[in-house]
Symmetry: C2
Subunit: 222 residues, 2 copies
C-alpha cells in the first residue's frame, strides 16, 4: 500500500477474479497474479521469470511476449496493485462525507480486496524496499509512490476545508502520518496468519482514527 499506480502497461486488467483462459488478455492477467504472488513470497531477486511463468501456466519463452524483462513485469504488477488499493479509497470517498468515514470505508474495501487477492497487500508492502534497493526498479518506479500521497492529500485537504482536521497538525504532516500507518498495516499483513487477523487489525485502526481505541483518551492530571 506504499506507492504509485496506474501504469498504462498494466492495462488491460480485470479487477475481479481473472478467468483461466487463453486469450492474450487472460494470460496477461494470470501473469500479473502469478508475479504478484511470487514477488510477495520470494522477493524480487529470488523470484524467477521461469517460476512466474510456470505459476501462470505458460512457458518462460511465452512470458517475453508479454513483458520484456522482470523489472517491466514488476512494474506492471505494481501499477495494477496500487491502482486497486487506491480505488478502494477513491470509491469510499464517493460514499462518505467525512474524512474519517472515507478512510474507514477505504479500509473496509481493502479488507474485501485482500480476501479476494491474498498476496496483493503483501506485494504492495514489500514493493517499497524492492524499489529502494534494486536500481533497475528504482529507475523505472522511483517516483511513482507520489500517487499514494496525492490520494490521501486530496482526502485530507477536503477535510481541512470542512474543518475536520485539528489545527495542531498541518496538512502535509497529517498526510505523512496516514500514509505511514496504512503502510505499516500493509507491511504487518505478512506477519499475520489469516485474513481474519488482518481484517481485525484494519478495524482496530478504524477505532484509532475515530479516537475510540482507548476508552479514556484523556490527558493525565499531572
Amino acid at each position: 500500500m506504499l506507492f504509485r499506480g496506474g501504469r498504462s502497461m498494466a492495462k488491460p486488467r480485470r479487477k475481479a477474479g481473472r478467468p483461466f483462459g487463453n486469450t492474450r488478455e487472460e494470460t496477461h492477467g494470470r501473469l500479473l497474479d502469478a508475479a504478484c504472488s511470487c514477488f510477495a513470497e520470494l522477493g524480487y531477486s529470488r523470484a524467477s521469470n521461469k517460476q512466474i511463468a510456470e505459476t501462470a501456466g505458460i512457458t518462460s519463452g511465452s512470458l517475453y511476449h508479454y513483458f520484456g524483462s522482470k523489472a517491466e513485469l514488476f512494474g506492471a504488477v505494481y501499477g495494477d496493485v496500487i491502482e486497486r488499493l487506491l480505488d478502494a479509497y477513491r470509491i469510499a470517498a464517493t460514499e462518505h462525507e467525512t474524512c474519517i468515514e472515507q478512510l474507514c470505508g477505504g479500509l473496509e474495501r481493502i479488507i474485501v480486496l485482500s480476501r479476494e487477492h491474498p498476496r496483493l497487500v503483501e506485494f504492495a508492502a514489500s514493493a517499497y524496499y524492492e524499489i529502494q534497493r534494486q536500481s533497475e526498479l528504482n529507475a523505472l518506479l522511483g517516483e511513482e509512490h507520489f500517487q499514494v500521497f496525492d490520494l490521501f492529500r486530496g482526502l485530507l485537504e477536503a477535510g481541512v476545508e470542512r474543518g475536520e482536521i485539528s489545527a495542531e497538525v498541518d496538512l502535509e504532516t497529517a498526510v505523512n502520518v496516514i500514509v505511514a500507518c496504512v503502510s505499516g498495516l500493509a507491511i504487518h499483513r505478512g506477519r499475520l496468519e489469516s485474513e481474519e487477523e488482518f481484517a481485525a487489525a484494519l478495524r482496530a485502526f478504524q477505532c484509532v482514527l475515530r479516537g475510540t481505541l482507548f476508552a479514556r483518551p484523556r490527558r493525565e492530571a499531572t
Copy 2:
C-alpha cells in the same frame, strides 16, 4: 522499530554519543555506529565490511577481531538499536500512568533518540525486510522481533486491566495495530527530509492516539 533486541554480543555499549577513542570498547561502539549507517543507507547486501571498517576508522582486517561475519555485525547492530528503541518506551512507562501517555512519552523519547542517531530509526525499519530476505540473517535473528510485540503487549495489557482499552478490540489486535503503526512511522523516516518532519509526524501520531487529529470524530448520521 520493528524488532528484537538485547543480544548479549551487542554489549558492552554506550547509550549516548560514543567517544572517538582506541580502547576495545570504544572501537566496538564506533563499529556499531558505522555499520548502522552503512546498512541503513545501502542495505545489507551492498554494505561491505570494508566500507563499514573505513567509516569506523579501522582496517577491514581489524573488524574481524570484533565480529566474525557481516551477519554477526548486523545482529549486534540490530540488538543495540532495538534495545535503545524499546528503552524509550520502557522509561516512558515508568514516567506516565495511562497507556496513551506511556505511548506518547515513548514517541517523544524516540524523537530525541533519532536526533542523536539519525540513521537508527531507518536501520530498524529496514531490518524487517533484510531479516526476511537474507537467509543468513533470518537464521540468526528470525525470532527476535517478538521482543517488540512483548513490550507493547505488556503496556497494553496493563491498560486493559485499568479499563483503558475499548472492549471492541482484543488485546492481541491492539498490539498488532500499535506495532504496525510505529513500524510504519519508522519506515516513513527514510522518506522525510529532516528530523523536524519526523518529529512532527510522531507528534501528529500522538494526536491520532489521543483521538484529536480529527476535530470532529463523529459517526455520520446516515
